[in-house]
């Protein structure tokens, strides 16, 4: 009897918790909705009071203004180029190295692997001054290459792929070796297709991190036409409160945030799996 009561009490408790979490989720969404509403208001109205956000009329003018005149498109294009190439290159480098570390033997392998793992402990800030000097010496600032290359030195991908390659049974390679396949062929034809889930995890991670990166693009890309979306949107934030174009600014933020958000909604399940997958490893 007491047991049954406890179960009933637990159910009620579950309800209360769920209610609280739903309320919290509502609070979580409010800031985004607020910006969304503001982006549909005329600048002149917002100048008087942002309270007008809750009243008609709404307008699409801010979005039309973006289409007419804004660096956003160029920055968006830059971000797509940089994040895509960075992700592709990371996948290639990490897969090759992960295979090498996990499934082959060569002199000093374990020592090198430990040295690579130590790299995980080096924060970007510890190298950024010298790195900036290097790209200055090479006259490479304000190029796509300068925005893409530094991210490739991150050892996380190699670590992740090595772990994944290790989890695949060794018999597969051995069977291929009996067929006289070369190492590269084994890697490319036999093993790489088996690592698609890990590629997805690493790819999603890398793309998001690169898309949202701020410090390095901020100091490397100084010409507006080479800004990434993150840096570009930041550059419009000066004189924020005094800005006559509050609605315009909001529309720009929505416009910049929307693509990632749509991708997120579409791939949500995979992204969440990717995070969880990386966690278990």
């Amino acid at each position: 009897m007491a047991h049954a009561q406890k179960i009933v009490g637990r159910r009620a408790g579950d309800r209360v918790i769920l209610g609280a979490v739903i309320f919290l989720a509502f609070l979580w969404v409010v800031p985004v909705l607020w910006v969304l509403i503001l982006s549909f208001k005329a600048n002149s109205e917002l100048m008087l009071s942002t309270g007008s956000a809750f009243r008609l009329p709404y307008t699409l003018k801010n979005y039309a203004d973006i289409l007419a005149s804004s660096g956003v498109f160029r920055w968006f294009f830059n971000s797509v180029v940089v994040a895509s190439l960075n992700t592709l290159a990371t996948l290639i480098l990490a897969s090759l190295a992960g295979y090498g570390f996990a499934r082959t033997e060569f002199p000093f392998k374990n020592v090198i692997f430990v040295l690579v793992l130590l790299g995980l402990a080096i924060p970007e800030q510890a190298v950024i001054i010298a790195r900036h000097q290097m790209f200055t010496d090479w006259k490479m600032h304000n190029t796509y290459l300068a925005l893409i290359l530094p991210g490739l030195s991150n050892a996380f991908g190699v670590f992740l792929m090595t772990q994944y390659f290790r989890s695949i049974p060794m018999d597969i390679d051995e069977a291929a070796m009996l067929d006289n396949a070369s190492r590269f062929k084994i890697f490319w034809r036999v093993l790489l297709p088996l690592t698609i889930p890990a590629q997805a995890t690493l790819g999603i991670f890398t793309f998001l991190a690169c898309w949202n990166d701020y410090l390095w693009p901020l100091i490397s890309a100084t010409k507006p036409e080479m800004f990434t979306l993150t840096v570009g949107i930041a550059s419009t934030q000066t004189n924020f409160a005094q800005s006559e174009g509050l609605g315009f600014l909001m529309a720009q933020a929505v416009f910049a945030g929307l693509p990632v958000f749509i991708v997120y909604l579409f791939f949500q399940r995979y992204i969440i799996q990717a995070v969880a997958g990386a966690a278990i490893r």
Binding site: H3, P123, V127, E174, D179, R183, L215, A256, A276, A279
Partner: protein, 306 residues
């Protein structure tokens, strides 16, 4: 597995074009592309950065002279820098417990099947995909007195606007709250992944003993996810030590340096004042602090487990 395979290699004729088990220097070619980038763009600048931190740069022609530990000595007496160290520690102390407690609470509440759980998880994780620039625009529109939603809401209840971003006491907590809103999704997902690894039998046993909610949490759930707890704490300490974009974009480190972080100091010293040696020295100290903080956490967790 390898033991059974070894005879196969022996029986094979030597010098075939195909790959073979066992060491071969050519296998090292797989890691060469990454190694080049790794050494060139991480290890080399790491050591060069250390060298730069020992130089005194001329502000005008950027010529450098060796200065030994002069930059470090100067930093130790630089009130602004020491302030940034204090702010950064405070920020870590504000955010990391929040990430652990709220993240775990959300994970426990949302560790359920069905649409409701999935939707709520998506809501809390959603903000993490936004860039710091958009997050700070959103939160300016919450915080700014007069304009912001919070001051509007307070106005309805008759409370005067609070100058979150321009008050010395409020700026850093406001940035911390923004940060928690932004990336609570990651610790939540890490905890969820850990919770799903706990065998169901443990909970069934607890239910048979009619253990209450708290008792189950303390004696089953928490001990089972210690490893993830440690990972989250170390990861968040390291991540939050690098506070930069939020403070640059929300407060520019103000008011009166009350929200200036170490990384913002490095950025401003290095890339606005072009005082490279001084900035590099500050970055070495940040590196050291992060390493020590993570190490202390790690050792502490090890001891608890043992």
């Amino acid at each position: 597995m390898t033991a059974t395979a070894a005879p196969a290699t022996v029986s094979r004729p030597a010098r075939t074009p195909g790959a073979h088990i066992g060491p071969d220097w050519r296998n090292g070619l797989f890691i060469v592309p990454f190694l080049i980038v790794y050494l060139g763009l991480l290890i080399y600048p790491l050591f060069w950065g250390m060298w730069i931190s020992l130089q005194q740069y001329d502000m005008f022609d950027q010529s450098a002279i060796f200065a030994g530990f002069a930059n470090f000595k100067r930093l130790m007496g630089d009130g602004i820098f020491l302030g940034t160290v204090r702010n950064t520690f405070l920020f870590v102390l504000m955010t990391v417990p929040a990430f652990v407690i709220i993240g775990l609470a959300l994970a426990l509440a949302l560790n359920r099947e069905g649409r409701t759980g999935a939707t709520l998880r998506a809501v809390f994780f959603g903000a993490s995909v936004l860039s710091v620039t958009i997050v700070t625009i959103i939160w300016k529109m919450m915080y700014l007195p007069g304009i912001g939603l919070i001051s509007r809401a307070l106005g309805v209840v008759g409370i005067a606007p609070i100058p979150f971003l321009t008050s010395q006491n409020m700026a850093l907590p406001a940035i911390a709250a923004t940060t928690v809103w932004w990336i609570i999704g990651l610790p939540m997902m890490l905890f969820l992944a850990a919770l799903q690894q706990i065998p169901g039998e443990l909970y069934e046993a607890a239910a048979l003993d009619s253990a209450g909610r708290w008792r189950t949490l303390w004696s089953i759930t928490l001990p089972s996810i210690t490893r993830t707890l440690v990972v989250v704490v170390i990861y968040e300490i390291v991540a939050q030590f690098q506070l930069f974009g939020q403070t640059l974009l929300l407060t520019q480190g103000g008011p009166n340096n009350s929200s200036r972080s170490i990384v913002l100091f490095i950025y401003e010293t290095g890339f606005r004042d072009w005082n490279l040696g001084y900035a590099a020295a500050a970055s070495e100290i940040l590196f050291l602090l992060m390493a020590v903080a993570a190490m202390v956490q790690y050792i502490a967790s090890r001891r608890r487990e043992a």
